[in-house]
Symmetry: C2
Subunit: 352 residues, 2 copies
């Protein structure tokens, strides 16, 4: 079946870039989001503004779309589940479900024997004490559901803090993670096509600030062996899920050169934005190709790249980047420059 319409659940900048990529390939982009002023709304061919659990709108949306994808793994599960029987959802409900829950994400990795950050499940207050005894301090308490950009996370340095941490996250189901003293944060962004083709972009080295991606540098300064290990782990993850689309695996690289999986995002990823400028096919085009059953494009890099997020009020000074001739500025058109909100990014290229 030839895909003519592509639905996206969510209307943020990731949705906008996917929509633009779809349009360029002759596929009509359709958005469903609860927020009328989301960036992707302006460039979609059709828009459904409705709460996630509005069955009538979900019906209309599913009928309008040949294939449906998401701009976030945190789209309401009931909505995803409702759409699943009525439309083609890529990535699958199973994959999205696993990565909506930090606990099932970790259990999935354990089942595959993929090294990840040591953790314990927290359901009750008392679990924290047990986890602390087992995994020690410092640690991080993270809600199982709905966290991103450091939201729903609490660092624990001391026994006293541990006692408060569970309250701080409103006693939601959580995981207690050992704090990892890593030497680098790395991500691997790649795609798996409908017929199993896998293509990776080069490894990306990331710097965070306030639990949020500040800057990504490509290529990551890591050995060929690390690159291969990361790609092998990526491959095992996507094959185990029969995954279709772009996916990102975030790793900690330890001082002894061990790779631990930190997090998995079943979608296009902030650390992959450099592909808009440094590669012929961006992660967004690649995602559209994958979920539409089209062949994947080359992921070869044409330049070295540094991608920097423009966050909150930084957007008011963003035009300064226009004075850097080798910098490409992307503004997302969000009206409200709230603190910690991703307002745009800028990619600087240098010769290979």
């Amino acid at each position: 079946m030839t895909i003519k319409t592509l639905g996206i659940l969510g209307g943020g900048q990731l949705a906008a870039f996917i929509a633009q990529a779809a349009r360029t390939l002759g596929i009509s982009p359709i958005i469903m989001t609860p927020h009328a002023d989301d960036p992707a709304v302006a460039i979609a061919d059709k828009v459904f503004i409705a709460p996630w659990r509005d069955a009538e709108h979900l019906d209309q949306f599913s009928r309008a779309c040949d294939v449906i994808t998401v701009d976030s793994e945190n789209i309401d599960y009931a909505a995803l589940n409702y759409l699943c029987g009525r439309a083609v959802l890529r990535p699958s409900l199973a994959a999205l479900g696993i990565f909506q829950d930090r606990l099932s994400e970790r259990t999935f990795l354990q089942a595959l024997n993929i090294p990840s950050v040591p953790f314990a499940a927290i359901a009750y207050d008392g679990d924290i004490r047990d986890a602390m005894a087992e995994l020690g301090l410092p640690a991080v308490l993270k809600t199982r559901f709905g966290g991103y950009d450091g939201k729903g996370q609490t660092a624990i340095q001391s026994t006293t803090q541990a006692q408060h941490a569970f309250m701080q996250i409103a006693e939601q189901p959580a995981i207690y993670e050992k704090f990892i003293n890593f030497s680098k944060e790395i991500s691997c962004v790649g795609a798996r096509g409908l017929h199993g083709q896998i293509e990776f972009y080069d490894l990306i080295e990331n710097q965070n600030e306030n639990h949020m991606l500040r800057q990504s540098v490509v290529p990551a300064a890591v050995s060929e062996t690390i690159q291969q290990q990361a790609q092998q782990i990526f491959t095992r993850i996507v094959q185990a899920l029969d995954y279709v689309g772009v996916l990102a695996v975030e790793f900690f690289l330890l001082p002894d050169n061990t790779l631990l999986v930190n997090e998995i995002a079943p979608r296009v990823h902030n650390t992959g934005h450099f592909t808009l400028d440094a590669c012929l096919h961006s992660q967004f085009t690649q995602h559209v190709r994958a979920i539409c059953g089209l062949p994947l494009g080359t992921t070869q890099r044409l330049a070295n790249a540094t991608m920097r997020n423009i966050v909150g009020e930084e957007v008011y000074a963003a035009q300064q980047w226009l004075y850097t001739p080798n910098a490409a500025l992307y503004l997302y058109g969000k009206k409200d420059a709230r603190a910690g909100r991703k307002m745009g990014h800028v990619t600087t290229l240098s010769a290979l």
Copy 2:
């Protein structure tokens, strides 16, 4: 003044690419076109669908836009003239006016002492005979106004054809051009900023088919001297007009290495489409930067490129290009695949 809204007269694929570039820089794109199904309509923030000479819509459009540009030099002159006193038009009315008329374009080049194709002005039937005596055969008769992609052109091989040629173009004012036996067709695409900054992309080598661009290859296989000569001519043209925006100069390169100007387009240009993939800043981003008074970006090329137009019914087989991993496909979303209509293009990259 900071530009927040950018108006485009015309809604074709060039307008769509300009609109997308503007949006990415945080500038809201607004379209005015007589055709509701034009490609740019779907991605503009505001659209005015009206005939060019609809004063009320022109008023509204001019009030909505901080700066106004065109996607074609052939936008109705009366409309441009009406807007000129009411809005900021870039490029200027003077520049657009000169290049709407092949005769004034040639007189302009003569005044600058820039070598172009030998021609004679044709107003009456009898002028053809005189022109034939002066310039010889073969020749081409071209209408002064409104021609593009070979429309309004008639090749003249013989005296008999010459007698019919003027009738064939409905006795419109025309120019009679000596047929040039060139060795290459070359174009120079570049931009001039509001404060006089000039940036060129590398020279492009073009192949035509049925009077229409078939394929462009970058870099053109020409000497450094030819590149410099072309850029000098470009510079003299844009400086003479105090030109602001992207402009393309098409040249014939003769077997003796002389460069003749064939045509000038005061806008983004089909032969510059390779910049979408092979450069950090496309010609569209560069045009937006120029007309908004922003600094120009680098024009450095990251790869070698071949750009091929997808014309008419070729669009039905366009998906074949997705099987070429280093090819990027652009479809313009035009519904009617008329013969000779540009429906999309594909750019193939190879390493520098």
